[in-house]
Amino acid sequence: MIDFQNVSYTHLKGRGVTNLSFSIDDGEFVFLIGPTGSGKTTLMRLIYFDLLCDSGKVNVGNFNSDRIKKNQIPLARRDIGMVFQDYHLLNDRNVFHNVALPLHVIGCDASEISYRVEDALELVGFEGKRSHYPHELSGGEKQRVTLARAIVKEPKLILADEPTGNLDPVAAFELVQLLETINNEGTTILMASHNYNLIKGRGRRIIELKDGLMRGS
């Protein structure tokens, strides 16, 4: 699913990632850990082609950082669901329309959108409140909606960048459980976190970053 070959990227202001090589297989659940500034978000951005590496090669599904064209990037992202610490929900539309958005992007028709949104919301345990706006939801609820939006298009890969950062311990624990449930359906998951306590003992592979370098896998 994901293959990094000697990947390096340096931001204009310095830092980034250096010489990363690793692979993540289809259906794997991998945690990415490391302190703030260790390169976790840079690595994620390289996966969804928001950044293109300075050297090395990133393969994600059928797309390759060497050959990908600008107009192919949206297509590559359609196979990826993303969950962020700060939710990235649109405040001007309700839960239903937030979750439906990726389906409009891929061109689903209205009837299909309706039941797929319902399914996604049910899967993440978000019942009712579908006409509520993001500002009317708690942090945990927002993150569930974000997760529903990520899975509604049935992506092959979910990238979760510090998704528990703004959640209380109970909500954070429930979110990781939800991700595991989704992974059991066959979706590859890469979750970045600096909360080691949350991920230890889950029997998942952990990639550790520090100062942009891979410390272990």
Partner: protein, 290 residues
């Protein structure tokens, strides 16, 4: 088709979702269009005002006392051939007495015992010329004609009007370009600001794999709606302002002028606001997406 309809409906919904932004954008667009519309109307009507004033220009030609009516008419025909002359009307001695009585209330024959007024001609000038009308050469040619005793005309006033018109026509294109440029900048930047305020939406759409066209379409459509709304508000206000000006002219001046608004103006204003809004939206979204 579903996708296209969705994008159009998103454009419409955005107008409602972002009421304050829409209000600001439409108000700025309206102001720009209103002033451009008024300037265009002023330019359009200046010509008819000038034609009205030119219709009042009058050159009075007095013939020598001994000239008979037949000879006077011959000279009048020669006057008609002078470049810039529209009409020449001969006034015989009897008509001159009547006009004198109308103007001064005195019967000059009753006072003097004879008619001292000569045969004369009233000459009007062509009024449709785009160029500055020069009266002096016309007068000079008339003065040289046989039998002409004296030529009277409002030389100073005519020159002043013609000079003012010429200066106006000289400055108008520059002022129009300046106005339109300011309007274009206002419209463009208003649209741009309203889109930048929704950078978060664009970023989110990018992350979920939306194409450039998918992101741009609702904004372009929204810009078009803003432009049309602003035009719809500015049109009745331009008409109202011109009607107000006509009311003032009718009631507070002796001018017989009616200002008009060219229907084409509304098409131009719609096109101006529509095209600039669409281009502004397109460029602003492209800028954010880089």
């Amino acid at each position: 088709m579903d996708k296209f309809l969705y994008l159009i409906s998103e454009g419409l919904k955005n107008v409602w979702r972002h009421k304050m932004t829409t209000f600001t954008a439409v108000f700025s667009l309206f102001l720009a269009l209103y002033f451009v519309g008024l300037l265009a109307t002023a330019g359009e009507n200046t010509k008819s005002i000038l034609q009205y004033l030119r219709s009042k220009y009058k050159i009075e030609v007095f013939f020598k006392q001994n000239m008979d009516l037949k000879s006077a008419k011959k000279v009048s025909d020669s006057i008609l051939e002078v470049k810039g002359v529209r009409s020449s009307t001969v006034i015989n001695k009897e008509d001159a007495v009547r006009i004198f009585k109308d103007q001064f209330g005195e019967d000059i024959i009753g006072v003097l015992g004879y008619n001292p007024l000569p045969i004369s001609a009233v000459v009007n000038l062509k009024r449709n010329s785009e160029e500055m009308l020069k009266v002096a050469p016309v007068v000079s040619q008339i003065k040289k004609m046989k039998g002409v005793q004296e030529v009277r005309y409002q030389g100073h006033l005519i020159n002043k009007i013609e000079r003012t018109y010429a200066r106006f026509m000289q400055l108008f294109p520059g002022v129009a370009i300046l106005f339109i440029s300011v309007a274009v900048l206002v419209i463009y930047n208003t649209v741009k600001l309203s889109i930048f305020s929704r950078k978060e939406l664009i970023d989110s759409l990018k992350l979920i794999g939306a194409t450039k066209l998918f992101i741009q379409m609702p904004f372009i459509f929204e810009g078009l709606i803003d432009g049309i709304l602003a035009t719809l508000i500015s049109i009745p206000l331009i008409i109202g302002t011109v009607s107000g000006a006509n009311y003032m002219i009718d009631n507070f001046t002796s001018w017989n002028i009616e200002l008009t608004v060219a229907p084409m103006l509304f098409i131009w204003l719609t096109l101006l606001s529509g095209i600039i809004s669409v281009l502004g939206s397109y460029r602003a979204v492209s800028g954010i997406m880089k």
